[in-house]
């Protein structure tokens, strides 16, 4: 299982009732690669990540993660990746340090190693001084940084980053991508990322896939995508591939909950 693509999708479709979120998608991600998954809102990025991370099952088609099917071998698949979700998944009632500790236990990281790596990562993301403060007292940017630090605590073979830099200032974005690039180089971690910032994708990704309306519309390096669309920048290439229309998303249960949470936080 040590060779072959680390992620492989074949004709994967996911339907929610009548809505087809992901439509007959096939692609591979190679080991050690930094792979950007781009698309307008509602194109199917997050649904794809949820299928890859064992949170939801495809309606049809097959997925192989390091050769394993996430539907039949969820625990083995989970052992191989780390993930930073688009939605916050921190425990706000715990401190930053406790969040790291819980993560260490959940991922079977030895205690000593958890302490060392948590210290290192919290220092890297400039959160160490606030390590004993409850997460609910953190600003949005600090939470995001903690979320990323936590995702890096165990060194996974595969790291999913779903819009990790949303709401981060340029300093933190830079810090984060530098660190992710280092991990990718020094430890051979495969990185699967989504972002709306084309400059980031261009800077870090070896290959880029563009998804729209649940289908892959282009796949290749930034240079290849630009050549294919005869455009000068990745942003222009992206717009050429996906059009200029702004997408409407129907609010699901999760969105409504998110709005409610935002209301509560505003107190």
């Amino acid at each position: 299982m040590s060779d072959g693509p680390i992620i492989s999708l074949r004709n994967v479709t996911k339907k929610f009732g009548d809505v087809t979120a992901v439509n007959d998608v096939s692609f591979d991600v190679q080991r050690g690669e930094t792979f950007a998954f781009l698309g307008p809102n509602g194109a199917g990025k997050t649904t794809t990540i949820r299928m890859l991370t064992t949170l939801t099952r495809p309606t049809s088609g097959t997925i192989a993660m390091d050769g394993l099917d996430p539907v039949t071998h969820p625990t083995d698949v989970r052992r191989r990746f780390g993930v930073v979700f688009q939605d916050p998944s921190l425990d706000q009632e715990l401190t930053a340090w406790e969040n790291m500790e819980v993560h260490g236990v959940l991922y079977h990281v030895p205690r000593k190693e958890t302490r060392e790596r948590a210290t290192l990562l919290l220092e890297l993301f400039e959160l160490y001084d606030r390590k004993d403060a409850l997460v609910k007292t953190f600003s949005g940017g600090m939470r995001r940084r903690l979320e990323i630090a936590r995702g890096l605590l165990h060194t996974p073979t595969l790291l999913f980053l779903d819009e990790p830099t949303l709401g981060l200032d340029p300093q933190s974005r830079n810090q984060m991508w530098t660190h992710v690039k280092n991990l990718n180089k020094s430890e051979g971690v495969t990185v699967f990322l989504t972002t709306h910032y084309m400059d980031e994708a261009e800077r870090v990704a070896d290959r880029i896939a563009v998804i729209d309306h649940g289908r892959i519309v282009a796949i290749g390096s930034a240079a290849e995508l630009k050549a294919q669309t005869k455009t000068e920048s990745l942003e222009a290439a992206f717009l050429a591939l996906t059009g200029h229309a702004i997408r409407e998303e129907t609010a699901g249960a999760a969105d409504r909950m998110r709005q409610m949470a935002a209301m509560f936080r505003r107190r």
Partner: protein, 248 residues
């Protein structure tokens, strides 16, 4: 095992940090205890049933345990959409451990709340028949807590939105409480009510606590404990199954 422990610890830490919630959740049991306890007391006495406070104190303890345990289901819904549940669901550990950690954490918190109410009832004048039976009563309290924390996990895993929990409170939790014999004796009830009270697992919990603390039991403590254990096992399996099916 360490996974179960850390998630249990998380529930307990969260509880100990939310002083406001602790105090707020003691409000309604205190109302029942003092307002109902002292207002219905004379009537109860005249009916020849003895002290109402003695009678209802175990019921109010169990009620506190029921409400607190069921509340852990709401916490789970909250965690589910934008919180921490996802982090645990993608971790490389069997979901049954996560479910057990959460459920036992919820049950522990409920048992602590029940203990606080027990102390309050002592202050109000409740006296157990034999003090050495108090630890046994607590074993039954813990069983009640596990039964309803497991039920809360099953419900919290199934519901998708907060609004649904309002339904659960009104059409499940309140009936469980009112049909449990927490507030009235089980003898001489109309037939329909008798069937319903006998189908309510909390009835057996409260009856067991009364049997142990007051020496008056309707079903016998052995049957009470047996029913609680059986229902607890069923709810734990149900909770584990529903939890394993969560699709976020």
């Amino acid at each position: 095992m360490s996974v179960v422990y850390i998630l249990w610890l998380r529930e307990v830490k969260k509880y100990l940090r939310s002083r406001a919630q602790i105090i707020a959740s003691l409000g309604s049991p205190l109302m029942y205890l003092f307002v109902l306890g002292f207002s219905l007391g004379p009537v109860f006495q005249k009916a020849g049933e003895g002290s109402y406070l003695q009678f209802m104190a175990p019921g109010i303890m169990a009620m506190t345990v029921l409400f607190t345990a069921m509340f852990s289901g709401i916490a789970m819904l909250w965690d589910r959409q934008f919180g921490f549940l996802k982090e645990t669901l993608v971790a490389p550990v069997p979901r049954i451990w996560i479910m057990l950690g959460r459920t036992l954490g919820g049950a522990t918190v409920a048992s602590i709340q029940g203990t606080i109410i027990f102390i309050v009832t002592l202050v109000a004048g409740f006296r157990p028949q034999h003090w050495f039976m108090v630890p046994v009563a607590f074993l039954i309290i813990i069983m009640i807590a596990v039964v309803f924390a497991a039920l809360a996990t099953a419900i919290g895993s199934t519901l998708k939105e907060m609004q649904g929990f309002q339904m659960v409170m009104n059409f499940l939790v309140m009936p469980i409480f009112f049909l449990s014999g927490a507030l009235y004796p089980l003898n001489g009830l109309p037939a329909a009510l008798q069937v319903l009270t006998h189908a309510d697992p909390l009835t057996y919990g409260i009856d067991g606590v009364r049997g142990v603390l007051l020496g008056t039991s309707h079903f016998g403590v052995a049957l009470d404990v047996g029913v609680l254990a059986a229902v607890g096992a069923v709810f734990l399996v149900l909770g584990a199954w529903r939890f394993s099916k969560i699709d976020v």
